[in-house]
């Protein structure tokens, strides 16, 4: 599935170019106006990047996890909202590629996705469950070969701009809240009615208000595997790694602004090290930690995915679940710490919203990281897993 190293580096180079030339120049306006970064997504379509994770035989680029992480990092460093949208899309595509691959419906869908460069959104959170993705209130109602699925979603990023949506729900009206399935609903078959607004501190361009979703379709659109397995094998690891990669991009851009500031200071008085340089050394230390964390998790996940067969899938092990949860918690804290450190370095120039050293957008975007699936919820999950985990 994975292409050779050259091809992967070519894809990353194209992503970086789009990020630099299209996403970055629009970032301030996207943030200010809380508008969808349409030019950056359109440019990704032209480069066929929305099918990055789809196997080449279905028309995709056949990239692996480490390449996806590099793409999300590139967009995150140009515009946090574009980075997060890109990450969310690839997480949804990965669920379909990895768990719909044998179904004729989903193979055809993936070809269409690559052909038309479709953008997929996610509706997991629901009124009544918050960030607990492993429980649903609503149920998919089957009637012969068709279904009806309605949901009060608290947050659907780029809901209005997506082509299709992946939705969690209970398996059937008589199923308990934790017995869930994941269903693809198509734009022609759903209506979205906005129920709340999205005037937030940060990640404003993700355009993520609440919606009432009403949809129908054919039962082929329901992924066959129980959602619990899809979550452990794909949705959770891809989310934590690709979100963290996006946050790494935000931190990297903040550090590069701080670095430029310190160098400019140094040039004013050659021969003396500016006092802010020591704080720069400090944030670069944290950035290295964050980068190693993200890259290590991405490579490990990629190699576990290659190794996995039906019987032994280490992605399902408790050890891996704890690790991938720790990645999310640590990265969400580090991005905030790093950006705040950078603001301290550049001072008032960073506090202003209209200088080349502005840190407001980075800081506000970074603050979403510990809230999207609250860190305490994830700590609670790890605390319970650690009671039975034996490997120390």
């Amino acid at each position: 599935m994975e292409q050779g190293a050259n091809a992967a580096s070519d894809v990353i180079a194209r992503a970086r170019k789009v990020a630099r030339e299209v996403a970055a120049p629009a970032a301030a306006e996207v943030d200010r106006e809380a508008r969808f970064p349409k030019e950056a997504i359109e440019a990704q379509r032209k480069e066929r990047l929305l099918g990055a994770f789809v196997p080449t035989e279905l028309g995709g680029l056949g990239c692996g996890m480490t390449t996806l992480a590099a793409i999300c990092e590139a967009f995150g460093s140009a515009c946090g909202a574009t980075g997060l949208i890109t990450a969310m899309h690839h997480i949804q595509v990965a669920c379909i590629v990895r768990h719909g691959g044998d179904s004729p419906y989903f193979r055809k869908y993936l070809q269409e996705l690559c052909d038309k460069q479709l953008l997929i959104a996610s509706a997991t959170s629901e009124v009544g469950t918050g960030g607990d993705i492993r429980s649903s209130v609503t149920a998919v109602e089957r009637d012969g070969a068709s279904f009806v699925l309605n949901k009060d979603a608290t947050t659907i990023s780029y809901g209005e701009y997506a082509d299709d949506i992946l939705v969690t729900s209970r398996r059937a009206p008589d199923a308990p809240p934790s017995d869930q399935v994941l269903t693809l609903v198509r734009k022609a078959d759903y209506t979205l009615t906005k129920t709340t607004t999205w005037d937030t501190l940060g990640m404003r361009g993700t355009c993520s208000p609440g919606f009432r979703l009403e949809s129908k379709g054919s039962v082929d659109q329901i992924l066959p595997l129980p959602f619990g397995d899809i979550a452990s094998r794909t949705m959770v690891p891809f989310s934590h790694i690709l979100w963290a990669a996006c946050w790494l991009g935000i931190a990297t851009d903040a550090v590069s602004r701080a670095r430029h500031f310190v160098r400019t200071e140094a040039r004013k008085k050659p021969g003396t090290v500016p006092p802010t340089a020591i704080r720069l050394a400090e944030v670069i230390n944290l950035l290295q930690l964050m980068r190693n964390n993200v890259h290590d998790a991405a490579s490990e996940c990629e190699s576990l995915m290659k190794k996995a067969d039906g019987a032994t899938d280490e992605l399902l092990s408790i050890g891996f679940a704890i690790k991938i949860n720790n990645l999310k918690i640590a990265s969400s804290q580090l991005v905030q710490q790093i950006v705040q450190g950078c603001l301290g370095i550049v001072g008032i120039q960073g506090y202003k919203n209209d200088t080349r050293y502005s840190m407001g957008r980075h800081l506000r975007d970074a603050l979403s990281a510990s809230l999207m699936i609250g860190n305490d919820r994830i700590y609670a999950r790890n605390a319970s897993l650690l009671l039975v985990h034996k490997d120390d």
Partner: protein
């Protein structure tokens, strides 16, 4: 042994169905056991049978049904684990 497993599921499994109506191979997750509840079931089984599930057994498929739990416990208590 299966009766003891049923008793533990009754106390800790938080199933939405009566555990007595569930066949040995009935899917516990479909019966409403959450992953959080499955951790409590594991801990109770470890206490009851004086065993430790090694990490390789801590996965959904092992805790999927009364039959699969019972097979895992047998493997651990027969000295073969």
């Amino acid at each position: 042994m299966k009766d003891k497993i049923r008793e533990i599921l009754r106390q800790h499994g938080r199933l939405s169905k009566d555990v007595d109506t569930l066949p040995d191979d009935g899917d516990l997750y479909e019966a409403g056991m959450t992953s959080h509840a499955s951790v409590n079931v594991m801990l109770a089984l470890e206490g009851q049978f004086d065993i430790e599930f090694p990490d390789r057994m801590l996965k959904r498929s092992v805790f999927q049904s009364i039959a699969s739990i019972s097979a895992a416990i047998e493997e651990l208590t027969s000295g073969g684990g």
